[in-house]
Amino acid sequence: MTCAEILELVHDDIDGRLDPAKREAVDAHVSHCAACAGAARQLRDLRAAFRAMPRVTAPAELRESVLDRLVRARILSLPRMAFPIAAAAALLVGAVVLSRFSNRPDVSVAARDVSERRMPVGEPVPAPSQRTGLTTEDALEGARRSRHEAAGDMAKKLADSADARQDEPLAPGEKARVAPEASGVDADTAGPPPRVAPAPAAAAPGARPSSEPDPATRGAAAERLSSLETADVRVVVFHSERDAREFMAGVLARDSIGQGAPDGVQAGGFSAPSGPLHDGEAERGAKSDDLRDGGAPPSGGGGGGSGRRAERGMSGDRAAAMVNVRIFGQVDARGDDDWQQAVALRQGRVVSEMHLVPAEDGTALGNSMTFESRVLGLVRADEELRRKAIANEHAGDDSKRKAAESKDGAPGDASGVDRGSVPKLDGPAKPGAPPAAAGKSGAPPEIPGSGVAPEGGPAPGATAPQSARPAPFGPADPNRRAAATRIVIVVVTDDPVEARGKR
């Protein structure tokens, strides 16, 4: 045998994969070949050196951090856990629905009615009834009374429950505009629920819809959003899908890589679903065990369930009275970990729809409700760009603060909201506009490591972060970004067309 062949056998011998006959041949060769003997000695030394390397042990907190993430994800991501949130949102909507039929003067919250609530992460989410004291019976009992009275009671009950858990004072002048949602957390005030005005179908760029809040209101809304950075779960209620889209775009622009630097965000699939809804598909889409390591996510991307259901199952007044409630999207990522977690567990976001159907007597909220969810697509943030954007944003904070201090002689606005440049929250969506950073194709990217192409891609009318338009938020404390935040976006509308996302 040649030295090269012997060398291969020496390697095999090192690994214990050499039969006795060959080993004898190797030993014979090595005994008279200095080069091969040297190589064999070096290889044995190498093996011994590897064996002598100090053992590496995992950080003590690794196990806890894994379990903590799983607990959070299971609470917030899995369908059975997401349901209480949906149910909570439904109860909120119930209050809104009841208020719609009241004869009260229009409180006119306008097209955008945003309400954020927070809920701690890391502990089990109790059933809505446990959190709020509200039950279906409560809702039905309320319905037997006057709608207005019932709505008021419901709101008060929610508020009472929330007051008990409130952990943070309200911002000065902050008022609730929507009855607190039923996740039962720090409600604002228990004022009468508003009458919901439909969203304007469209508006010229730059034009402010007649129902649009004034700049001060916008500023307050932005400030409230900013002040809720520590929220673990946020429920944001919109009354038009268009508004939800813009909000999502803002969230992505800000939460992923920071304000004003959306180039690293690749977004898609968070817009309204446009395909057909098939019964049972949602369940498949929500099953976590459909997600294989590197496997394809369950199919989805359809939608239009609300309107379709209205068309096929409802008619006349009842259909007209049906309120379409959609959990429009969920954003559950803040840092790298959470993006990865979202990828690992859901391969995207879950978009759910609920339908609240009036009771047979036509007077109240019934208990016929369906809950469907599906995976729509993926969002990815480029970590490096995100870090840079955060750094830039932070630098911007400092300069803003200094400017404010020099102007007012006092510390700057803690929220960091620039009143003079509060973006148009109600600006019209740009149907068909390509995602700013989704690449030329407009399709969301493959998630690294998942081996999974995004599903669906942006639906028609999808809006992505616009580089020219700052996100509708004030800058945030980077430290607070570390907290995972799940934003549940609920769209409430009685317009089936709007519900389908076809404006």
Partner: protein, 221 residues
């Protein structure tokens, strides 16, 4: 290939070695299967047992491949999250540990790809223009000096060896880490890396020859 007495001795040593501190086979045991079954049955504590049992080995492998303690922690965490979400797809065809290592390898490879992509868009540092290095190819070097894990125990030859391993081609680094540190067999490495056993053998051969050439006798046991 039959096992000789010498082979048995090596396996016995490795069975109690670094990859197998509890004396069980490095890539799985009946306890793992039991824990998986209990996980699937809804016992949430069972997954904690799995993590506890495997965290050192997975973290160690990832750390040896990346050379970055923080990154290794993140990737190990991702490995377990992935494992949890894919647990139903594990049917016991491969040893549980091999399955976990495969997930960990995927995480490491994804991380390398991500970093490579980031570096492509980043300004080029003149300091990084050392021909033939991972940095040249847009890959983070797997070793950035003594890490926090074993810094106190680092001796010169350990550091030299780590540097040499870090400089290996990622494909070679994988097999060396799994074989020399994690004590996986060729077959287990083949399952974890997704390549044939013959490829594992040739990669190990080349990796060791490269190490032998680079170290040139500087490493003594």
């Amino acid at each position: 290939m039959g096992n000789s007495p010498r082979t048995d001795r090596i396996q016995e040593v490795s069975g109690a070695g670094r990859g197998d501190p509890d004396g069980q086979r490095a890539t799985g045991s009946a306890e793992d299967m039991d824990a998986v079954r209990r996980c699937l049955a809804g016992e949430s504590d069972a997954f904690g047992e799995i993590v506890a049992r495997w965290q050192d080995r997975i973290y160690s492998a990832v750390y040896r491949m990346t050379g970055d303690a923080d990154n290794a922690k993140d990737l190990a965490q991702e490995t377990f999250i992935r494992a949890w979400s894919s647990l139903r797809s594990y049917h016991g065809g491969a040893a549980f540990g091999t399955w976990l290592y495969a997930i960990a390898l995927n995480q490491v490879r994804s991380d390398v790809r991500r970093r490579r992509a980031q570096k492509r868009g980043a300004p080029i540092s003149l300091d990084a223009q050392r021909a033939g290095t991972d940095e040249d190819r847009g890959i983070d070097p797997a070793d950035r000096g003594p890490g926090p894990v074993d810094a106190s125990a680092t001796t010169e030859h350990v550091y030299i060896l780590r540097k040499a391993v870090a400089a290996l081609d990622p494909d070679y680094r994988e097999v060396i880490v799994l074989r020399e540190f994690e004590d996986l067999s060729y077959e287990e490495i083949a399952e974890a890396t997704g390549v044939p056993v013959g490829t594992v053998r040739s990669r190990l051969f080349r990796a060791r020859e490269e190490l032998r050439r680079v170290l040139d006798g500087r490493v003594q046991p």
